[in-house]
């Protein structure tokens, strides 16, 4: 079922692009590359590792592993409208209704035989406790070996070294499973791709900061977190390049992501992954554009190809969900400033203690820089209780309020 889905997706986009090359948009190219990962995961021909969100996907790519964080599958199931039966399956098996539905859906899918059996699993302690638990559960379910990367909370010389050592151990773990040593050349090539993609993405995000922004509620949705899966490959460079070229052209021609952009919004944490009308309403009724997502940022330095483990460790530690809440809030405040944000939307994904747990402090922190936050109560994966009417009303009240106040960034 999933294999068919990804095959159809890849073939569909490719056919469309062939038929009408003018229809090529950055989002399509990005979707195509992501769908190709899905196709490889489900193709049955490649070595597969299920991972945690902050695994070094570029290093794994250099070792010939198709790897993916499991939450990606939860998001896919939600976006295709198939998630309910898998959530029900997991709940039936005793996974509490109150846990993160990204994980529950994956557990349901594994129990129903819809997750390819991996060669091994690599868990990461960041971003969340639930993520680690699901990896342990999957390792037991699949009876496959598990490696854990403990991502330290703060960046210190000692913590970076600790993670770098673990990543080295991970390389040995992978080699022991594949029977192949890590090729220095392939690693160099992967790091070069990562650094190139990084450099271009910095430009892309900078351009998205323009007022009005070439970005909109869809173009870069979920981008920062998912593009990590492409790092280390040419696909990451290609995807970043089409975004850069497209944004450049839009800026030159004075085209914005939505017509008459009036309100600039920041989306906190993850998007609502199933189909819903909220973005449309924001854009068409209120000229409100989501110009960035919290994770659409480069928080790490280029990786030194001569000493990549340190750079890979720093990158994992740097993600805004890691460490103390104050660090996350500082990052959000900086984004608000860079993007001249009028208001932020926090979906407060039900079941996410990591993210929703910081709700009050995020509101306070963004409030301090004059940016109001709309806290929603949604499950970003589980559409079963989606209170569309209520959410619409709240969004409307919020955007109207923003419309009547001046930008916090006006001189």
């Amino acid at each position: 079922m999933m294999k068919q889905y990804f095959d159809d997706l890849v073939n569909g986009i490719e056919a469309k692009l062939k038929e009408d090359p003018g229809s090529m948009s950055p989002r399509k190219i990005y979707a195509l590359e992501v769908a190709k990962i899905g196709r490889r995961l489900y193709g049955g021909e490649e070595r597969v590792a299920w991972c945690g969100v902050t695994a070094p996907f570029d290093l794994l790519a250099a070792m010939g592993i198709t790897s993916c964080f499991v939450e990606f599958i939860g998001a896919m199931l939600a976006s295709t409208g198939m998630v309910s039966e898998f959530l029900a399956e997991a709940e039936q098996a005793g996974f509490a209704g109150d846990t993160c539905a990204y994980h529950k859906s994956v557990l349901g899918a594994a129990r129903k035989g819809l997750m390819p059996v991996p060669d091994f699993l690599i868990a990461t302690s960041c971003p969340c406790t639930g993520g680690l638990a699901v990896m342990e559960t999957l390792a037991r379910h699949f009876q496959k070996d598990l490696f854990v990367l403990n991502i330290p909370q703060e960046e210190t010389q000692q913590s970076v070294q600790y993670l770098a050592d673990q990543i080295r151990d991970m390389v040995n773990f992978v080699s022991n499973h594949t029977g192949e040593a890590l090729s220095e050349d392939r690693l160099r090539e992967a790091i070069a791709h990562t650094n190139k993609a990084r450099e271009i993405m910095v430009d892309v995000y900078k351009m998205a900061m323009n007022v009005p922004s070439p970005a909109n509620g869809r173009l870069l949705g979920n981008f920062g977190i998912v593009v990590a899966l492409l790092l280390g490959t040419k696909a990451a460079v290609d995807v970043a390049t089409v975004y850069r070229d497209s944004f450049k052209e839009m800026l030159e021609k004075g085209i914005s992501g939505i017509p008459d952009e009036r309100i600039r919004l920041l989306w906190i944490q993850n998007r609502i992954q199933f189909k819903n009308p909220l973005i449309d309403i924001l854009e068409t009724q209120y000229n409100a554009s989501i110009v960035s997502d919290e994770l659409n940022d480069i928080t790490w330095d280029p990786i030194d190809p001569d000493d990549p483990y340190i750079g890979l460790a720093r990158r994992a530690i740097s993600i805004p969900f890691n460490g103390q809440g104050s660090r996350r809030i500082k990052h959000l405040q900086q984004m608000a400033k860079d993007y001249k944000i009028d208001g932020a939307i926090n979906p407060c994904h039900w079941g996410c203690r990591q993210g929703s747990g910081a709700r009050g402090l995020i509101s306070k922190g963004l409030g301090e820089v004059g940016v109001p936050v709309l806290n929603l109560e949604v499950d970003c994966i589980d559409s079963r209780n989606f209170a569309e009417g209520q959410l619409k009303t709240r969004l409307e009240a919020f955007t109207e309020m923003l419309d009547h106040r001046s930008s916090p960034w006006e001189a």
Partner: protein, 353 residues
């Protein structure tokens, strides 16, 4: 420290190395989620965080804490605990706060890293108190707290044998006391309790059951379980026996590494695990229940506790292959919902008869 009266340093997790806190001249004080103050932590956190951290934050919000509590040590044990640390710093900005980064696994690199964290703790506590801490002092405190761990183990055995007056409720009262009072007071109390009970005859008071879970500090919980016809033969909660583990201190030069290795590899709570044996928690629960001669297992976890909620299905699956029935309860640190649970426990015990 210049004050004659020792200041208290709060903590909230069974992985906290309280001997080091003691060595620094502070009284380690477990901030238990037990309070009558109104529920309001959801304003700062979110209602979907576990009642353990919410009730602890409620205490901070209402200042329902000892006056001489001047700092907190949080362990990076789970998302909820991290968020509690954030909130604590906002609510009580004048407190000293330290967050120790606790790995989730106990391998070679993890032990080395956590040893450095323990060293950092020791330096931080020294800075808070104004006095350096010598390795000798830490070794002495470790030995002292090992005596408490021995005593708690003995009392737990008394409980399993039906010898302990006041039973499970009394044991929990003693543990709560030992996690919040100065060492000497705790030791005196526990010694006396052992003396007073050791000659009591062993008694079979009910169906032998093994209890496990995360946070249940209310002593009445244990008597309510016993009132349903249960004899608690083993009790594995973060707030009970798991709180006190013997730590090694054979070599002062490598003290932190020794303590680190022991803490990371002690009988774990669900958040710490062995990647070589995924789901080992399930096998451990069964193995412990069997070795204690339990006829049934009762698991009690808090609502919204990711480490436990995510692993209980593994326990449930594993138990199905045995002849030991399992009852899973979910609570909120209080006995508010116990009315409904009592019926389930009674039915469970009835089935075991």
């Amino acid at each position: 420290m210049t004050d004659m009266k020792k200041q208290r340093i709060g903590f909230t997790c069974a992985y906290t190395p309280i001997a080091i806190v003691d060595a620094a001249g502070f009284v380690p004080y477990r901030v238990l989620p037990v309070t009558d103050v109104p529920d309001q932590a959801g304003r700062i956190l979110h209602d979907n965080l576990c009642p353990h951290v919410k009730r602890v934050l409620d205490r901070a919000l209402e200042n329902d804490l000892p006056e001489d509590l001047t700092g907190m040590i949080f362990m990076n044990s789970c998302d909820a605990m991290r968020r509690l640390a954030d909130a604590w710093m906002t609510v009580r900005p004048e407190d000293h706060v330290m967050i120790l980064d606790l790995p989730t696994t106990g391998g070679r690199t993890d032990i080395a890293f956590f040893a450095k964290e323990l060293e950092r703790l020791s330096h931080t506590l020294a800075a808070w108190s104004g006095n350096p801490i010598a390795a000798d002092q830490i070794a002495r405190s470790v030995e002292q707290y090992n005596q408490i761990a021995d005593n708690i183990r003995t009392l737990n055995e008394f409980l399993a044998q039906g010898k302990l007056k006041g039973s499970g409720k009394r044991l929990q009262e003693l543990i709560n006391q030992a996690t919040s009072a100065p060492f000497a007071d705790s030791l005196t109390l526990l010694d006396a309790e052992i003396r007073n009970n050791q000659l009591n005859p062993a008694r079979q008071n009910g169906i032998p059951v093994f209890l496990f879970g995360n946070v249940m500090p209310d002593p009445d919980f244990f008597s309510l379980i016993e009132d349903c016809g249960v004899q608690i033969v083993g009790n594995d909660f973060c707030t009970s026996t798991r709180m006190f583990e013997n730590l090694p201190c054979t070599d002062k030069e490598t003290l932190f590494t020794e303590i680190s290795g022991q803490l990371l590899n002690k009988p774990p709570c669900a958040r710490t695990f062995d990647p070589a044996r995924p789901g080992k928690i399930a096998d451990d629960v069964i193995q412990r229940a069997k070795s204690l001669g339990a006829q049934g297992i009762i698991g009690h976890s808090l609502k919204f506790c990711d480490p436990y909620l995510a692993r209980l299905p593994m326990v449930r699956d594993a138990v199905q292959g045995t002849d030991i029935p399992l009852l899973l309860l979910e609570g909120d640190c209080t006995l508010r919902s116990f009315g409904q649970q009592r019926t389930r426990i009674e039915a469970f015990v009835e089935m075991l008869r």
